[in-house]
């Protein structure tokens, strides 16, 4: 079991300070939701953690080992342990590769071999897809199926940690529910640690145990989901929660 520890993370783009001294700790086997609105810096944090971009300062450690500045084989080994899933599965799946080729890629990069047929079958099964889709192209799949493929690709290398960046934001209601349920069960059965980045507060109680609320590059409040959502202390968290439309017409605020 591994834990991820982020301290004093900062990142500036030109004159904009996107991340301003963020601390996060992700305990083994738990899901931490990072919630905020557009421009809050939440996606930048995921990219920093995965070393897709380099922080200006601060530390990121996985089980006490620093991830910053890793190169070559060490970077590749770290990337195997930390996987990421993005919002737009169409944009993140190469449209010229079949699903079989998409899933073979992580085996080639990290294990320098081709996956066996039963490995592919198992992966597809784990994400609720039929193996008959292996020879399809991404555009032949629905948005939900594509997101399942993206999850399968992330799981292929047996990661310990997965960062999910708005992974259900582009999906329809019933597909979103299916993908959330899938992620939750995978997280449990594989004891994954998950950083779940979202602007949608309503889904947080279904996926995460802890939550951190980010506003303009800083964490303004953090704690257990039940606690924060029941008794938000920070004015921004209160405003965010109050703005979420509740699916009950009886609770319409008088305009």
């Amino acid at each position: 079991m591994k834990s991820l520890d982020v301290r004093g993370l900062r990142k500036r783009f030109g004159s904009v300070e996107a991340v301003r001294g963020v601390d996060l700790d992700l305990r083994p086997g738990e899901t931490l939701a990072l919630v905020g609105e557009s421009g809050s810096g939440k996606s930048t944090i995921a990219r920093l953690v995965l070393q897709l971009i380099t922080p200006d300062s601060g530390s990121i450690e996985l089980d006490g080992q620093s991830l910053i500045g890793l190169r070559g084989d060490a970077l590749r080994a770290m990337r195997r342990r930390l996987q990421m899933i993005f919002q737009d599965p169409y944009g993140s799946l190469d449209p010229t590769l079949s699903i079989r080729q998409v899933l073979a890629e992580p085996f080639r990069v990290h294990f320098r071999r081709r996956p066996a047929e039963d490995e592919l079958d198992r992966l597809m099964g784990d994400v609720g897809l039929s193996s008959s889709l292996l020879d399809r192209m991404p555009h032949e799949l629905s948005g939900g199926q594509r997101q399942r493929v993206a999850i399968a690709r992330a799981l292929a290398v047996q990661p310990e940690f997965i960062a999910c960046d708005e992974v259900v934001s582009a999906l329809d209601v019933s597909t979103r529910a299916q993908i959330l349920t899938l992620l939750r069960s995978l997280q449990k059965t594989r004891s994954l640690s998950m950083l779940f980045i979202t602007h949608d507060l309503a889904i947080v109680p279904y996926i995460a145990q802890r939550v951190a609320v980010i506003y303009r590059g800083e964490i303004v409040e953090r704690g257990d989901v039940d606690e924060i959502f029941s008794r938000p202390q920070h004015a921004y968290t209160q405003a965010l929660l109050a703005a979420v439309p509740v699916p009950d017409p009886r609770l319409r605020d008088a305009a």
Partner: protein, 311 residues
Amino acid sequence: MTLEVRDLAITLGAVSVVEGVSFSVPAGRTLGLVGESGAGKSLTSMSIPGLLPPEAKARGSIRLMGRELIGLSNAGLLRVRGRQIGVVFQEPRQSFNPAFTVGEQIAETLRWHESLGRRAAHARAVELLGEVGIDRPAERANGYPHTFSGGMLQRAMIAMAIACRPALLIADEPTSALDVTVQAQILKLLRSLQKSLGMAMLFVSHDMGTVAQVCDEVAVMYAGQIVEHSDALALFSRPRHPYTEGLLRSVPDVRARGGELYSIAGAMPLPGKHPAGCRFADRCPYAIDACRAAPDAQCIRDELALAGVLR
């Protein structure tokens, strides 16, 4: 009746995408048209102002203030659009021309439809921007779209949509691209304008949360048909169609504490691949053989229950 749609059918080439859709919206009321992508809600709403893609064809009847819109010439539709029907889209940035100021574009609508002079149209555009809650409207009217935030530009889009005091306002996913705090403000604005101007509003959305906050009535679309249409309070508290029931149970609620989110297994059948009988039958937990022979979009659950076939 402001808007009356009867037996609307839309085909894309040879494929039927919307079938047998009927609903009406009186002045001062808001009808929510909800469904998931591919259900046909946007095609249905866009057929009203005649904004279907060229390969799509609408049949049936769409009456606005008693006047038939299907079969109307482009020139006729141009006069109806903007003047009697205002439309608010999801992405205001795609609706504004980046090369002209926001004020110029609203004034253009007024000059075209209301034959206002240049100066009068500009003055009215400034008033409208104020009406939708934009600060310092006289100054903002001279700003270009890129200087507006997403929420402000959506307000400007609404100002343009209501400029000619339309009888019908169509809002197609108007807040889906906005942050939650901005979304709440825009919903409030739409609701208050709809009431104060007495417009009929068609609110198209996939988001049951926003629908609950805005609509008086709700029509649920599935695979090209309306499967349930009722008063919003009744629909949310006692859904009759199993799809509506499943959809509502799939909607995350921020008040939930732990627990799992229900999900409907499977996926909506694609246009051209609709099964015979009830189109939801393959995903329905209550389905029996008779459902696959049921003739239209109405669920036969009530009849079956009455006949003692089902609980």
